[in-house]
Symmetry: C2
Subunit: 350 residues, 2 copies
């Protein structure tokens, strides 16, 4: 979907375009909230338009996560900036062992943005939040003059509650030799979908972003005691960055098997043509787990039951042979080191 920036002369049409006055806190701001935001994010809390929104938590153990989204383009195969903003924060909470409860969203809008474009984004956020069973209960809108931001930026911040047994899931405590590395499906889809769309490369590709909320999938695996020892979603920096950070931080070695890492033919083809290493390309619906070796079958079983985990696979294991280093057995039979990427990565993929 092509988003047009409108000519300055027409910009004062407040029924079609975002104007500076939509951000002033006056009547027009109120109309924007009532006619667009409340139409889709309909809940009692938001309808009162308070300075802060009240909610109840089943627990006093809480988690908070924040993310700003500046993706370019704002619509892409498989999603849009709104869907991404909801999924990104829900997933950051979920991989930290939290049950996501509520989200806030802060919009920065460029003067001249079409209201119909904003409506599509809000609608997409509402649908995604409902599917993930989280409520959007707080919001804020700012408008900046044309040329002072790029169409729309969205911050989402989420709060979840945490069961005590899941509090250490991000730390990787208890990982030992032989434990397995699992990913829930094909990698590198989000980054390549954005790349193909943005650069107008005109490669015929059915590469679609994997953007999805993983909280239900993740919660199903956390119900198995002492099984998942670490998890993280593989966003910016891809699968390799998650594993390198963990390996360095807790000083364990890893062995990956390239042939076992799921990737679709179309993503692989696009990576090959453009010279990207799929291990470092962003995902928005992929979680990497380290699972205790004696619980691997149960966890894989749970993952395979869920639509977002059908293609989950063991991609490697923990070793004590080379602490802090990751080796990968390549498809052609060799071995390569997987290291932290220092050079340029794809900008504005989320």
């Amino acid at each position: 979907m092509k988003v047009l920036v409108t000519p300055t002369t027409d910009m004062r049409n407040t029924d079609k375009y975002i104007t500076m006055n939509h951000g002033s806190g006056g009547r027009l701001s109120q109309r924007l909230i009532e006619e667009l935001f409340l139409k889709y994010f309909s809940n009692d809390t938001l309808r009162q338009m308070p300075d802060a929104s009240l909610f109840n938590s089943p627990s006093k153990n809480l988690a908070i996560s924040t993310d700003s989204f500046v993706v370019d383009p704002i619509f892409f195969p498989g999603g849009d900036i709104g869907k991404l903003a909801v999924c990104g924060t829900v997933n950051d909470l979920a991989v930290s062992g939290a049950h996501p409860m509520v989200l806030s969203c802060g919009f920065i809008l460029e003067e001249g943005l079409e209201l119909s474009v904003l409506e599509k984004i809000i609608q997409s956020m509402a649908v995604t939040a409902a599917l993930a069973d989280v409520q959007i209960i707080a919001g804020d809108t700012k408008v900046v003059p044309k040329g002072k931001c790029d169409k729309v930026f969205i911050n989402t911040t989420g709060v979840g509650w945490v069961e005590p047994k899941n509090k250490t899931i991000s730390s990787g405590i208890g990982i030992k030799e032989g434990d397995k590395i699992i990913v829930n499906g094909p990698i590198a889809e989000h980054g390549m979908a954005i790349m193909n769309e943005r650069e107008q490369l005109n490669f015929k590709s059915d590469c679609v972003s994997d953007c999805a909320c993983l909280n239900a999938l993740i919660e199903s695996t956390l119900s198995i005691d002492n099984a998942v020892l670490f998890m993280r979603d593989a966003t910016r920096g891809g699968l390799a960055t998650v594993l390198c950070e963990l390996s360095e931080r807790i000083n364990v070695g890893m062995e990956l098997v390239e042939e076992q890492i799921p990737i679709t033919d179309s993503t692989k083809a696009l990576c090959d043509i453009l010279g990207f290493d799929p291990l470092y390309v962003a995902n928005e619906g992929k979680v990497v787990m380290i699972v205790a070796s004696n619980k691997v079958d149960v966890v894989l079983g749970k993952l395979h039951e869920h639509p977002l985990g059908k293609k989950a696979q063991i991609i490697g294991s923990i070793t004590s042979k080379h602490r802090g280093r990751i080796y990968m057995e390549t498809s052609v039979g060799g071995k390569r080191i997987v290291d932290v990427l220092t050079g340029d990565q794809l900008p504005r993929i989320c």
Copy 2:
């Protein structure tokens, strides 16, 4: 303070300027977090750089508030975008009856921003948060290409806990004839300070933003039972907008006395010269309260004890004579209606 945008040729100097790679999630992002953010927002939670940060609340009754800050200029007399971002969200929680606990902050940075400028902002946020006794425990940084945002935008989202008796403080339940309207000090200072700085008007004025965290002041008044029946901070749209919204929503009349509304000579002079009505000009450290008539003296006493409430004053009262309307007795002896502003307001003041 003048913030320079650097020439493109020098922009790859990663020690002096924000580059696209600072937002990539790789080594340079990590360095930015470690050398700038962790230097000032130092706490154990943040140091682990998790996807979500865990924290404990003393209560299961919670409040969340979000705000994005796009103020122009980013440094102004009395504050900067960082101080504003902390105060704004702390105050939104406090006026909702919540005790602010934690803040998240999401930065959107323009390629080419000087790192020294970012450092000043982060330092200012850290000092402000410490004074307000809130912890910044979650963060996110995105970088967009030069020209795609305006130096720096900050989202802060805060979570607080709420005592059950304060849950209805935003609703105005229980307000009746004779109750008093109080403001904690001189109005219109933030908006006029921004205006004078941004437009380079060269009016010699000592107009300084009132930007401050009000949570301690507010908590001291909430300790008096059944005294404060409503409160809200008078930010975008000023004092008039807060009162008009309340008057309309709960259908009560109000009578204001212009001479009792605190305003400094320099703010008044600047408003007169530029043609602004101070009632509609933004504040960032002012709370409007409706106080039960029999508790006014106790509340005023508490306010006067605190540095941010020394100049608190009764500015009017609730009446049943003209429901849903606000009249003001003017200094020259006449009467005027105070209505919702529909026209242009100052853009980008927060």
